[in-house]
């Protein structure tokens, strides 16, 4: 029982022994763990599993990550609520960066290719659409298995950067790793400053928040200071970029962030690629 102790200040530990708490009236033995033999006469057997629900997803995500690494591709998972401006920002991004980096886009969309259609001719080297509809309504996020399927349709060795445009949703996408190097979020100032506190999982998960539609600020009651304080409360390390995909404000800062992530993920080599020199 030595693990449990009270600190001098009176606070006690919440120990992981909660996990091992006896849940029933039968004794748990080592042979119960994943073992089919030795059923007890109680008519019931408890098998301890202690398996993370996302472990299967994470396994595939790791596979995806290795596949991206093999092809020297940096992947960024781009998330937001519906209508925050992901696709418009993506169009601008492709316009600015496609001469520097060969960019692939993996589009998660519940049932359409509307977003992908918007990107037509914007400068992507390749676009793969993953419809998340699965006969049971539509999935609300991209998981690692869907991204693996989408990646299979992309010429990875010919890409430097893969932007994964997730399904517009502030809840589920944050839970599912897909093998990306970084998570980015587009947040529109029309959404309200309390959102980081209401959707902490998403805001905590991301490396950068693009605060979009700042050109609308003069017409809104949105309090930017309060929003930034709320964001800082749930994720002090997130980088913030104030932007308007419509006017182009902040887009170069966002592109610089993407470029830096590519360098971090793939090394200097990525910017020494022949196609870049040819294009210049």
């Amino acid at each position: 029982m030595g693990r449990f102790h009270i600190h001098a200040d009176g606070t006690g530990h919440v120990h992981e022994h909660d996990l091992q708490r006896d849940h029933g009236d039968h004794e748990r033995t080592a042979s119960d763990v994943g073992d089919h033999s030795g059923y007890k006469e109680t008519g019931k057997t408890r098998i301890t599993i202690l398996e993370n629900l996302l472990s299967e997803n994470d396994r595939v995500a790791d596979d995806n990550g290795r596949q991206l690494a093999t092809s020297d591709v940096c992947a960024v998972n781009l998330m937001s609520s519906p209508g925050a401006g992901k696709t418009t920002l993506l169009r601008k991004t492709l316009g600015s960066l496609s001469e520097l980096l060969r960019i692939g886009v993996l589009e998660g969309d519940i049932a359409t290719s509307l977003d992908a259609d918007q990107l037509e001719g914007a400068g992507a080297a390749a676009i793969s659409v993953v419809n998340t509809s699965a006969g049971f309504g539509g999935e609300c996020h991209l998981d690692a298995v869907m991204v693996r399927a989408g990646m299979a349709r992309l010429p990875l060795p010919e890409l430097d950067l893969l932007i994964i445009e997730n399904v517009g949703n502030l809840v589920c996408p944050a839970e599912f790793r897909v093998g990306e190097h970084a998570k980015a979020m587009v947040f529109a100032v029309t959404e309200g400053e309390e959102k980081p506190l209401k959707y902490p999982v998403m805001f905590r998960a991301v490396d950068v928040v693009v605060v979009n539609k700042v050109d609308l600020l003069p017409h809104l009651d949105f309090d930017l200071e309060v929003f930034l304080a709320n964001l800082n409360a749930v994720n002090p390390s997130a980088q913030v970029i104030l932007a308007s995909a419509r006017t182009g404000e902040g887009v170069s800062e966002w592109c610089a962030w993407l470029e830096a992530r590519c360098l971090l993920a793939c090394g200097e080599g990525i910017l020494n690629l022949n196609h870049r020199d040819v294009n210049r």
């Binding site: 600190h7 019931k44 629900l53």
Partner: protein, 123 residues
């Protein structure tokens, strides 16, 4: 928290999580009937227990998990302060020390999404 309404969270989220619970449980059950599945869900996971229970009925039907009860153990979000070492159980998803109000805290619990155990009926 003002304006906070967990019911805004779409049900699909719980359905996805239920599918993951079901597949993990079924894998370990290996064809045997299951009477109970126990899971731990951290408070920071934005999972609504009622929605999870409802999804469970949909997901578990017509499998070895049919009639299996889903027991949800909720795990509070606890942070430990880097400065004063005090552990705080959070009421809001604001990662701050309840003692010195510092933001340099380490998350101790609250992000769990774990299948703890399954109970089987002997054949």
């Amino acid at each position: 928290m003002e304006g906070y309404d967990p019911s805004e969270v779409p049900l699909m989220h719980e359905l996805s999580i239920c599918n993951a619970i079901a597949s993990t449980a079924a894998k370990h059950a290996d064809g045997r009937s299951v009477t109970q599945v126990t899971v731990q869900i951290g408070h920071l996971r934005q999972v609504v227990p009622d929605a999870l229970q409802f999804s469970w009925e949909v997901v578990s039907d017509a499998t070895v998990l049919k009639d299996a009860a889903l027991v949800i153990e909720q795990v509070p979000a606890v942070v430990e302060c880097a400065f004063c070492g005090v552990r705080t159980t959070l009421d809001l998803p604001i990662l701050a020390c309840g003692h010195c109000e510092g933001f340099e805290v380490k998350l101790v619990s609250g992000e769990e999404l774990v299948v703890v155990s399954i109970d089987l009926v002997d054949a």
